[in-house]
Structures are given as C-alpha cells and as structure tokens.
Amino acid sequence: MAERQPETSNGMSAEEYERLVLLAAKRRRGEACDELEDWLCADPAAAEMVEALDDAAQELDRQLEATAPSAEHRASQRAALLAEVERRRRVHYLRWAGALVAAASLVLAVTLFWRPAVVGRATVRALGDAGQSREYDVRAGQTVIADAGTKIQINLGGGQEIELQPEASVLAYDHRMVVLHGTVDGRSGLVGMRIDFADWSLELGLSTEFTLGLSDEGCRLWTDREARLMHGSTERVLKGGETTTLDLGEQTEQ
C-alpha cells in the first residue's frame, strides 16, 4: 500500500522536504552537493528553510560541544554505572536467596510441626437410597455432611478404600446428619477419620475397618483394631476385632 505523502504548506511534498533536509545535512557534513545548490538557487523558500535548519543545527552542535563530558567524567560515569549494575545484581541474588531460604523454612516448618500432616486429599462418594451417587473431593480438615441413609465410600487415594457397610446407615441415628471428618497425610496416604453421632465421637485410623449396627439393644460397633470412642469428657478404648454395644439412648441421657 502506498504511503501517504502529505504536502507541506509551501507546496513542497513530504518526500521533497525529506530530500531537502537530507541534502542540507550532507552539505553541513562538508560534502559537495550540487543538487542542493541548484535547488536553493531555483527555490528561495527552500533556501530560507535550509538556512534556518543550518542555524538550528549549528546551534545544537555548539550546545552539544559546549556541554560534552570530559574523559574523566566519562570514566566516572562508567564506574558509577558498573557499580550500580553490580549492586543490583547482588540485590537480585540476595532476593532469590532470601526467597529460597523462606520457602525452605516453610517446608521444614510444615514437615516438623504440622502433625498429623494434613496435606493431600481423599475422595468421598456418597450413594443415595435411589442409587444416585455423588463424589466429593475432601481436602484435609474439611467436613463432609451427608444426608441420613446415605452409604458412604471413602477412597483414600493410596489404593485403599473404605466402604461403610449398609448398616452404617445407623449413623443417621435419630435421623440426624452423618458427619465425616477426614484428614489425609499426602505422603503416607493415611487418613484419620472421626464420626460424630449424637454426642458421641469416634476416632479411627485410616485403615480401620468398622461396622456399625443398630439393634434393640443399642448400637453395635465393630472395629478391626483399637479405636477411641469419646463421649463428652470420657474416653473409651475399643478393642480391635470385638464388637462393642453402646446404649446410645442411656448414654445420651447421662
């Protein structure tokens, strides 16, 4: 596409003006320029323009020469620049080093003091009575609330899976909500799980298998290993491989 060439006020096109300026610069550099001389003879307006241009250029040249830095000044400027570059480089490295130390400290602090480690996630799948299912990603420390009568499978991520038995619906004791509290150790894949029902709470290790059942006698609880059952401020240790019957009604009345 052709470039637009606006005309200047005295009828000279932009292209001609550009040519005139370049020829004037050439003459100022001391090069012979017959073309310019002919042009200026033929066009007084151009001659005036070039004269003004030469004056301005010479004045600017004079100013530049008058304020030109000495060799010593140049050297000091160079030294100052290099010193500043070096300083900035050091600050840059120090910032990176500081960030790395801070990150390492954070990782160390988490590793040492965050126990049980609550990093990672587990997947909880809730199966409704009508067969519908829904999956939740549970982050460490999150609480999952499922409706009464829901069967719950917990995939612990390490190839381990816990499925609460159908009897687990008893967790919806008294049609209350079932609350699962999952914590995950990302590195080992272990989850500590707590189930609250009524005013009881049960703490189980990740790989603990357990069954809850409801009968006329109360709530039957079986775990494959030792677990802690808490009721208010009292704590009861459940033996692994044995079924414990809990009279929830009586206990809650106490």
């Binding site: 470039e3 637009r4 060439q5 606006p6 200047t8 006020s9 932009a14 003006y17 550009e18 300026v21 370049l22 004037a24 610069a25 100022r28 550099r29 005036e48 323009m49 003004a52 241009l53 004056d55 301005a56 250029a57 004045e59 600017l60 040249d61 004079r62 100013q63 530049l64 008058a66 304020t67 030109a68 830095p69 000044h73 140049r74 400027q77 160079r78 100052a80 620049l81 290099l82 500043e84 570059v85 900035r88």
Partner: protein, 159 residues
C-alpha cells in the same frame, strides 16, 4: 553483551542525545545512567538496531523525566563561542545566537528530539522514526513544523 561493552560503544551518542534534549549535562548524566540500567534489564538487540534501541529508551527516560520535573535550561551554562569579529558584528551575532538558543530551549521535547536526530546527529527520517516511535511521514511533517516554529519565533527577535 556486558554493561561495560554497552557503555563504551554507545555512551557518547546517548549522552549527546540527552544533552541535546535537556540542554543540561547534569540531567543528561542522570538520564544516561537510568537508560543504561533500564536497557540492561531488557533483551538488547544486536547490531545497528542496538543504538536506535538505546536512543529510544533514552528518549522514554527523558519524557518520563519531563513528566516528573519541570524542564529547566540554564542558558548561562552554555558558553558563547569566541568570534574574531568587530564588536558591532560580534554583538549582533551573539544576539542572534542567544535568540536561537532561547527558541531551541522553548521548543517542545518532541520537535527538539526530531531536529537533534535528523539535523544534528545525522539519522535518516526512517531511523529517527524508529527511535521516536512515530511513522516516517508523521516525523517528516513534524520536522517541518519544528522548523517553521523556529523561524516564526525567531522573526520578531531578529527583525
């Protein structure tokens, strides 16, 4: 390219450009440092492009400087060159030079930059347009306007 190499290769041009823009060696010193430091944090092109790139960064520094500070030009700092003329002629010349100097000092930063690059530092319009970031045709017409402005403003003083 290291900072020292970059400095050795381009300091004179960049400093002259900034001196011409600001009319002050002190301001040019500060802006040269700023321009070089800024360029060193960027990816600097190689070859002839490098010089234009640096001048463009220097021009940006100058514009930024103008926005943060009022431009000042100390005319007394610029010595008038000694001339071997009769007193009357010398006085006339000095008056003309002073008027021209005042006009150049009052000229807008953009016009001054264009005059400097094209008429003083011998850059072509294409190169100057790259440095200042404006189309070539725009630059030509601005150069024309800068010259016209200069002539208009010199007329009353020299008449």
């Amino acid at each position: 390219m290291t900072a020292a190499e970059l400095f050795d290769r381009h300091y004179d041009k960049v400093h002259a450009f900034l001196r011409g823009l600001s009319g002050s060696a002190t301001v040019a010193d500060d802006l040269v440092q700023e321009a070089f430091l800024r360029v060193l944090t960027l990816r600097v092109p190689e070859g002839r492009m490098q010089e234009r790139y640096l001048l463009r960064v220097a021009y940006t520094c100058w514009i930024r400087y103008l926005k943060t500070r009022r431009p000042t030009v100390s005319l007394e700092d610029i010595p008038t060159p000694a001339v071997d003329l009769c007193p009357h002629e010398a006085l006339e010349r000095a008056e003309d030079a002073t008027a021209l100097r005042r006009c150049l000092a009052r000229m807008s930063a953009e016009h001054r930059a264009i005059l400097l690059l094209v008429s003083c530092m011998d850059y072509t319009f294409v190169e100057a347009s790259e440095i200042l970031g404006v189309p070539r045709t725009t630059l030509v017409s601005r150069h024309r306007r800068a010259l016209q402005w200069l002539r208009d403003n010199l007329k009353p003083a020299t008449a």
